[in-house]
Amino acid sequence: MAVASGGGHWVQLMRLKPAFEGLDVFYVSLDSTSATDVPECKYYTIRDASRKHKWGFFVAGAQLLRILLKERPRVVITTGSAPALISLILAKYLLRSKTIWIDSIANAEHLSTSGQQAGKFADIWLTQWPQLATQDDTTPKFWGAVL
């Protein structure tokens, strides 16, 4: 399962497509028209759950629960943000899925709030900025960037 919020998070996820080539992947994001970016794959739309849309957390959580129980992904990968963190937590504890968090390249100086939280739940926890990564486990690792 490849999941991302709309806008920049989705655009960054699309740049990672070669990583999923030939694998059985489905996508989840916020904008129904984004389905045109992945015509060959199954695509689900969920509600936004940013800090400005508190009610959205419950709706998005319920939608994600349905998707996860139906699809049962072995691996969940995301480029953020808040709704993606919910997916990651639900998938990890409900399905024991393996989880990969790639913090958005927009966060050059600090990790995002969701990205900081994701450290507790992600099997692989990445930042796209080398200066935000250290050798110990208190920070994400740096493997590269979408740009």
Binding site: G6, S34, T36, R74, V75, I105, A106, L147
Partner: protein, 163 residues
Amino acid sequence: MIFVTIGSMFPFDRLIREMDHWAAKTGRNDVFAQIGSGSYLPQNMEYARKLSQTDFSGVMAKAELIVAHAGMGTVITAGQVGNPLVLLPRIQAWGEHTSDHQIATANWLRDKPGIFVADTDADLPSTIASALDYKDDGSVRFSDVADPAFTNQIRTAILDFMK
């Protein structure tokens, strides 16, 4: 055509208002704005609330210049089509975003070819003028996908998890 876009998450009336005034002052009648859920409605430019992904890519590719918030969706899409870009970062203190990461984004992109940063509203007209003068060599700034070394490492990790 000049395309003004503020992304898909939050409104950004400050940029839309400034660009509306700019269009009136300069007499440019080919400015088109995606205004999102903003409450300021442009008087001097055509606008849409939100374009579909396909229409958005089409307009981005056609635009002579893109004037936008400092969001990565816009930055990456503009780079993929290779059109010059003016960025005005959102300010958290003014309720324009949930953090000030757009200022950080604007700072690391500031000197990249084809990208022009306006730090304040007052800087917008001169920044747009520089961007319109910019002679693009027509090359795209980014390919469509990330560095293969990065995607390969992620792919290997996924395949390991699937074992």
